[in-house]
Each structure stands twice: as C-alpha cells, then as structure tokens.
C-alpha cells in the first residue's frame, strides 16, 4: 500500500521505531505489574481521518474509549490509545490483576487507564524522537470515550486550517495487541500529526535514514 505521506523506506523506518517504542512500553509494563506483558505491532498505516473513521466504525455506531495526550516539539499533534467498546476497562482490570467483569469504570481505574496510555504513547513518542534526535514534549494523558464519528475528539485539539482551507491531517494508525495474564486485548495507537509538522517529520526521517546510510 502506498500512501500520500511517506515513501516505503520512510514508512519502514517509522514501523521499526514504533516496534521499538512498543517493545519498551511492554518492558515497562512487565516491570510494573510484575508479570510478563507482551505487546505486538502487526500493522501500521498512514491514512486520513475520514478513512480511519470509516475503517473503525464499519458503518456501525461503536463505542470507543481511550487515552489521549498531545505532543509538541519537532512535530505537533495528538496521540491516542483506542479500544473498541469496554476493552479499555478490561485492559485496566487485566493490568491491575482484578478478575471482575467489565462494568462501570471508577475514578481510580480511569487514572490507571490514563497511565497505561501514557506509558505506551510516551515510549513510542520518546523512541521516535530519540531515534530522530529530536525533542518532544507530551502533555498529561486524558481518558475519554466516544462513539461513531465523534471517536476522535482529539481531532479538535489541532484544528486543521491552513490558509483558510481545511486540510486533512495525517493519521498514523498502529494496531497493537496486548497479551497479559492469559488475556489478549487488541487496540490501536493513533498519532494525528499536524499537517504543518508532516514536512518536518519527513525530513527528520530522511536525515535519520541518511545517517544510517540508506
């Protein structure tokens, strides 16, 4: 699949960095919960918000819950961890080792979910920034829930207006699978990168590739 944002080489480099970041996140989790947590990245893709919405909802109105945080630095944007339906709560319960059916999420659980998202997103963003030898700031994570089209409230965090014309931002979607305590929970990482940052991102990757001699 070709995309309008990156060349194959750039994309491969990005995938590698994401893998590395997710790997670090898994290691951090394992240390935290005292149990092995596996995180895998079967696929990453770059797409538009509209396509992503269509892909996620499949035309149906599905509930989503997740954690998002904004970042700025060499690129600006919003990063989010997304789970279909009640999987987020399930993930929290799996992480804290409680064997209770998903029901209402409590305040403390919501905070835990925020930390989970924080760890993954921070690791990914830090790994990318580190690899590219750039600096990046992240905000504190917030949890949110949404349905259907409103699934990406973080879109509002970076209004895409360029010279008065709405521009479709770049969305980096990373499918991830958690595997811990005999449970498998699938979710997504979504990195919405401001259009004005995409060029900086591309050149940073190119620099990185150049240093590697690719």
């Amino acid at each position: 699949m070709t995309d309008p944002f990156f060349t194959d080489v750039q994309r491969d480099a990005l995938t590698e960095m994401m893998n590395l970041g997710v790997g670090r996140a898994a290691s951090a989790f394992s240390k935290l919960v005292g149990d092995e947590v596996l995180l895998s990245v079967p696929e990453i893709c770059l797409t538009t918000v509209a396509d992503a919405v269509a892909q996620f909802t499949g035309g149906e109105s599905r509930a989503f819950a997740g954690v998002m945080e904004s970042f700025d630095g060499f690129i600006d944007g919003t990063a989010a961890l997304l789970f279909p339906g009640e999987r987020s709560l399930e993930l929290v319960r799996a992480v804290i080792g409680e064997d209770m059916p998903a029901d209402e999420i409590s305040d403390l659980e919501e905070e835990t979910l925020a930390e989970i998202g924080n760890i993954i997103l921070n690791n990914c963003l830090a790994t990318v920034a580190n690899s590219l030898r750039k600096r990046i700031h992240t905000s504190l994570p917030e949890t949110y829930r949404a349905t259907g089209d409103a699934m990406f409230p973080f879109l509002d965090a970076a209004p895409q207006v360029d010279a008065g014309t709405p521009v479709t931002p770049m969305l980096l979607l990373v499918q991830i699978d958690f595997s811990l305590r005999e449970r498998d929970i699938g979710g997504f990482l979504a990195f919405l990168i401001d259009l004005k940052s995409t060029e900086a991102f591309r050149s940073a990757i190119d620099e990185y590739l150049a240093e590697l001699g690719v």
């Binding site: 630095g73 929290v92 804290i96 305040d107 403390l108 905070e111 835990t112 990046i136």
Partner: protein, 734 residues
C-alpha cells in the same frame, strides 16, 4: 496548569496559590533537586520545605521513593515527557502520611509529573532539554477506600444477583410502594417456568399469573400475608404464557428499608406441577392398591372362613404329594393339627400303599378325578373312609404345581350302605321264611363284619320258662355259650339278663369278658331276647356300633316275630284252636302218613272215632262257654291218653278222632278207647257245677278193617253209630 518557571523560581503570588492547594506540589530542577516544596507536602512527608530544598527525592526518602517516580522525573527532565503514576499501579511512590503524628496512616497517591520548559526550549528549537518538572501529588486514600467499599458491596451484590439469576426457583420483585405492585424484576427461572420474558412482565401486577382463577384458597393466604406485611406461603394454580396451568408453590416475603417500611415484595415460585401430579398419581395408585388389598383380604378371609367351616376336607399338596395346607375339617378327620401335617405326605395317612401315588404328581398321579381311600387316625382308631376329588392347579400356563384334594368323609355312608346291605340280606332271608336259626346266625355274622373284632350272639327268651338262651352264636366259644344259656332275666344278672330286665342297652366294659347287650323288643315292646356282643377290648361301643346293635335288635325282632307269626299260621291251619288238637286237615295228613308207614313196615294202625254223649244239653243249659270249656278239657284228657307219636284231632262240634300210628295188637286200640271213655267220663268243673258228658267210640283197624284213610274213617264212624244205637257210653270195633 502550564507552570511557567523562570530559572525555576516562583513569584510570591504563585507560591501562595501552591501553598493553599489541597495537593502536594513540588518543583524540581533539571537535576531533580527540590526547588519548591509546598506545605501540604511538608505535612504529608514530615519534611519541611527548608529541609527539602536542594535535595533530590532519593536524598529525601532513600529507598522509600519508587523507581517509577524517579524514572518519570528523569524522563520529564530528559525528554520532556509528562507522566501519570496511578494509585492502582504504584500505590505509594512516596512515603507520605495522612493526618498528624503517630495517628497518621499511609497515603495512597496519584502523582502527575509535568516537564517544565526551559527558557531555551521553544516549540521549534527542540535542542535544549527542559529545566525541571512539576510534581503534583494527590491524596486518593479516601477514594481508594470508597472504591474498595463500593467494589466489595458490588461484589456481594453481584454474588447475590448471580444467585438470584441462577436460582432454579422463579423470583420476582415487586414495588410495594405502588398500589398496583408492579413487577420490577423477574429472573430467568421465572421465564423458564412461566414462559414470560422479564421485559414482558415489568410494570405489571403479578395477578395476570392467576388467570381467571382468582378465588383460590392459596391466593387468599398470600393476600392476607401481604395485607399483614409478613411472609406467606401457599400453593396456587398459575398459568403460563401459553395458557397452560401449573402448580406454583409460592412464597412471598416483604423487604423493608432501614426505617422498617416495606418497599418490595419478593415472590419465590416453584413449579410443583410434576410433584403434585406425581403425588396425586401416587395417592391414586396407593388407594387402588389399598382397595385391591382390602378386597383381596376380604375374599381371602371369606374363602378362608368357608374353607375352615365346610365339612369337606380341603388339602393342598405340592408336586411331591406333600401337604402345603389343610383345613379344619381335614384336621378333625385326620385327628392331627395342621402344624404336624404340613410337610408330611398325604399318602402316608392312607393305609393302602397302592393309594399313595395317586396323590403324587411326580409319580404320575394327581390327575383330575376321584378316589376313595381310608385315612388312618392316630391312636389306632378306626380309619375313616374319604372320597377324594383331585384337581391339579397350575399357575399361569405352567405345569400343575399344586394338587387340590377335596375330600368327603364317607365312613358313615359306607357303614350305612353296608348296614343296609346286611339288613336287606337278613330281611330277604326272613321274607323267604328261611330257617329261624340260619337267619339269626347270618345276622350275627353280618354284625361281626360291621364291627370287626367283635363276636355276636342272639339270645331269645324261652317261651316256656322265660329264660334267655342263645339261638345263634356262630363264633362264641363254647364256654361263653354255656354261660349265656338259661339266664334268668334279672337286675343282678349278667349283661344279657340285665339288658332284658332293664329293657335298655347295657355295656359292661369291665366285665370278663366285656359285653354289650341290647334288648330285642317286639312290636308291642315286650322283650324277646337280646343281641349280645363280646368286643375285643373293654370299651364303650362307638356311636355307629350302637347304631348297628340297635338295627340288629330290630332285625332280630322282625325275624322272631315273623317266625312266630308263621308258626301261628301253621298251627291255625292244622290245629283246632279251642282244644289244641289236630284239625281234620292235619288228621288226614297224619292218617295218610300212618297208613304209608304201616304199609311199608307191615304194622297195624288204629283209628278211634269219638262222639260225646250229652254235650248238646250242656251247651243248651250252660251256654257255649261252658261247652267250649268242656270241649277243651276233654281234648286235653284225650291227649293225655295217647303217646306222642299218636294224633288226637277234633273234626266237628263234639266229634274227636284219635290215630294210633302203630299198634302191636288189636286189643291195644280197645285199651286206649277204654282209657278215653274213663277220661271223658270224669266231670268237668264249671263254676259250682260239675258238668258230665259221656262218649261213644267206634274203632277201625288197618289193615284189618280198611286199607285207605277214607275207608278207615267211614268204618270207625259206622262203628261209633253202632255204639250210639247200642246205648252210648261204650267203645266197639265195627
């Protein structure tokens, strides 16, 4: 809170704000050293701002600070990454306390780590690192406690819910605060029982379950319980969604809130239709069995009563002829108890060994039919005769397994038959006018057959001296026979004499020999003699033996009376009843015999024809009775003048004939005639009178005067007339 720190310093107003916050706030520089430590943190950590200033977290808390926090601080400083340390994953990254002094408790924390941007750290530069971070510590101990409590209650509630959901009993909860008691909840078992889904019944009054059947006693009980706000339980008939009825064991329990107000009712239902039906079926089946048992028992009792009461023997045998059951009649006849009989063979009770196999199906017997056998009785008693009807009994279609033997005691009947037969024989003998002695002897033998072991004799009263003499005693030894002869009828005599005297049976069991005697009575109840038995042992006769004796006595009476009547007839035919002399018929017969005898032996006979003189005058003067007395007396006197072998006869009113069957000399006849004249001539006393008659006698001799009877009579008659003509009172040969 985007803190904008200038070289990590805070202006005073910001410091005041931070001091007033209800959370911990610390400002760390790029090296992780405390720049600001608000009072909340000082209180919770027991470390004053002054003590904290300039020291890193590790220096302040040592190992008590968590690695995660140190890493978060480092990554905020190094990379500018913001971090959350949630309570659930970290619990207490810092050793902080709630409350004061020793009463403090460990604080559950949630910590936010925000990177602070350094002056050189602009959005687009990206080169320089941040200058430090802001630590915000929130006390979530209360939240943790609340959530734990909540979770525990939730857990308990969930458990309870699960129990309610999983219950096999239908459960509904209704709102007691509303008048129409709407259903708030119905569990899956309710749906399973009634067919109604939970959402179909929500908000409805539970009465729809009753259908039209609203006046059941069970419902009344439930309504009363609800009215009194107490628990109630009843069995009610409810209807499913499909309209079918079921039996519902319903329990209603009120649920009260903390103020004691009933807010809900819980209805617990159990479908007991199957149980109710099963119970009903069981009851019906039980009742049927009981009824059948009673019927059977009644029939059994009835049959048993009948079996025990009937005179017939009923014996049940198994295939080997062993007694399985025997009724009361059977026990009476055999003289044994059922206990002693059960298990023994019926064949063993039958003296005839050939009869045994008839009762054994395993030896080819036991076929339906009849057989008459004897049955022995204990103690050597006389065996009974039983006529058996055999009926094999098979259960279902199998081979016969039991033999029902129904027996009738025919002993009496056989005796009666035998007795009748004997009687008939005796009566035939009597009817044939058989000899008296032969008839009675036959009777004795017959008695001995009827009464085995006994010896019989018939004694008759002698007509002349009224003494008893045995007439028939075929098996009585001579010695006994002698003892029986010439017995005087007396109260103190022997058995026979006593019976004849008392005119009733006498049984001497202690006498030697023992003796039973029954008097023989004539039709006019006079004693004719006795039937006497010498039994084998000293005992009373059995009833049937008494019967035999009585019948024998009657037979003897008949035989004797018949015999005597015959003799009387014979006498009347040949003799003159007035004088007891032979009549004309006998005379004629004797005369023929005498002539035949005389002719054969060449001897003489004589015939005297006697006619009385002066008899008519006596008759006329003194009457016929006087005449008859004279004739009877004269007759006796004539008889006294002749030998036994001679014959005197009266052949007319005053006409007599004497036959002298054999005379040696003709003068002998004259001599007899003279004796007769003399005898007749003597007076006959008649009251005060002495009646005198004379006689005229004519004599004829055989063969001198005539050789035939008629001729002899005529010659003698003629000779008598000649005497009459010659002056009467003489005897002369014509």
């Amino acid at each position: 809170m985007e803190g904008s720190a200038d070289n990590v310093t805070l202006n005073s107003s910001a410091t005041e704000v931070l001091a007033a916050l209800d959370s911990g706030v610390a400002l760390l520089d790029a090296a992780g050293r405390v720049v600001f430590w608000n009072p909340w943190l000082a209180r919770a950590s027991r470390i004053s701002a002054a003590d904290a200033a300039g020291r890193s977290l590790s220096e302040l808390f040592g190992d008590a600070v968590s690695d995660s926090l140190l890493e978060a601080v480092a990554s905020a400083g190094t990379y500018g990454l913001a971090s959350v340390l949630s309570q659930q994953l970290h619990r207490r990254p810092l050793p902080l306390w709630r409350g004061r002094g020793t009463k403090g408790e460990p604080m559950e924390q949630s910590i936010l780590v925000r990177p602070l941007r350094g002056a050189a750290d602009g959005p687009d530069t990206g080169g320089q690192g941040p200058d430090g971070c802001l630590l915000q510590v929130n006390d979530v101990t209360t939240a943790v406690r609340r959530e734990r409590h909540l979770r525990e209650s939730e857990g308990a509630l969930r458990l309870r819910n699960r129990a309610v959901e999983a219950s096999s009993q239908g459960i509904i909860i209704v709102d007691a605060l509303k008048d129409d008691l709407p259903i708030l909840y119905a569990n899956p078992a309710f749906t399973a029982i009634t067919g109604w889904q939970a959402d179909e019944v929500h908000g409805r009054h539970p009465r729809f379950l009753h259908g039209l059947d609203t006046r059941q006693p069970g419902l009344t009980a439930i309504r009363e319980a609800i009215a009194e706000r107490r628990e109630g339980m009843a069995v009610v008939r409810n209807f499913r969604k499909d309209g079918s009825a079921f039996w519902n064991e319903l329990m209603v329990a009120p649920v009260a809130d903390s103020k004691g107000r009933v807010t809900h009712y819980v209805g617990i239902q159990r479908d007991i239709t199957a149980r109710t039906e099963a119970e009903a079926e069981r009851d019906t089946a039980l009742a049927e069995v009981r009824a059948a048992n009673e019927r059977l028992s009644r029939e059994k009792t009835f049959i048993s009563t009948v079996l025990q009461t009937v005179d017939a023997l009923v014996v049940v045998l198994d295939r080997r002829g062993v007694i399985v059951s025997i009724n009361r009649a059977g026990q009476l006849i055999t003289g044994r108890t059922e206990e002693s009989l059960i298990g023994s063979r019926l064949g063993d009770l039958v003296p005839d060994p050939k009869a045994g196999p008839f009762f054994r199906m395993d030896q080819g017997g036991g076929t339906a039919g009849t057989i008459t056998t004897q049955v022995s009785v204990p103690g050597g008693g006389e065996p009974r005769w039983v006529r058996w009807s055999l009926t094999p009994l098979s259960e279902a279609h199998g081979p016969a397994s039991f033999l029902i033997c129904t027996g009738v005691d025919v002993t009496e009947r056989r005796r009666a038959e035998s007795l009748l037969k004997a009687e008939r024989e005796i009566l035939e003998l009597v009817a044939r006018a058989e000899s008296h002695e032969i008839t009675l002897e036959k009777l004795c033998l017959s008695i001995e057959v009827q009464m085995p072991g006994c010896r019989a004799a018939v004694l008759l009263l002698n007509g002349t001296d009224q003494r008893l003499c045995p007439v028939a005693a075929p098996h009585i030894p001579a010695e006994q026979r002698t003892a029986m002869t010439g017995l005087q009828v007396a109260a103190g005599g022997n058995c026979c004499a006593r019976a004849a005297f008392l005119v009733q049976p006498v049984y001497l069991t202690q006498a030697n020999p023992p003796c039973w005697s029954t008097p023989v009575l004539s039709s006019s109840s006079s004693v004719l003699g006795t039937v006497t038995i010498l039994p084998a042992e000293g005992r009373e006769p059995e009833p049937h033996e008494k019967e035999v004796l009585e019948r024998a006595a009657r037979l003897v009476a008949i035989a004797v009376e018949r015999h005597r009547a015959e003799e009387r007839v014979r006498y009347l035919a040949l003799y003159d009843p007035l004088t007891g002399l032979a009549n004309r018929t006998l005379l004629s017969d004797r005369l023929d015999s005498a002539i035949a005898h005389a002719r054969r032996h060449h001897v003489s006979s004589a015939l005297l024809f006697i006619d009385l003189d002066g008899f008519k005058a006596i008759n006329d003067t003194h009457g016929h009775n006087a005449g008859d007395e004279v004739l009877a007396t004269i007759g006796r006197r004539i008889s006294g003048c002749i030998r036994d072998c001679d014959t005197a006869a009266r052949i007319g009113g005053d006409e007599f004939v004497v036959l002298l069957s054999e005379i040696a000399y003709p003068g002998d006849a004259q001599q007899v005639a003279n004796k007769v004249l003399e005898a007749v001539g003597q007076g006959v006393a008649w009251g005060e009178h002495d009646l005198c008659v004379g006689a005229s006698i004519g004599i004829a001799l055989y063969p001198d005067d005539a050789t035939t009877a008629d001729a002899l009579l005529t010659r003698a008659d003629d000779a008598m007339y000649a005497v009459k003509q010659g002056g009467k009172g003489a005897a002369r040969r014509g």
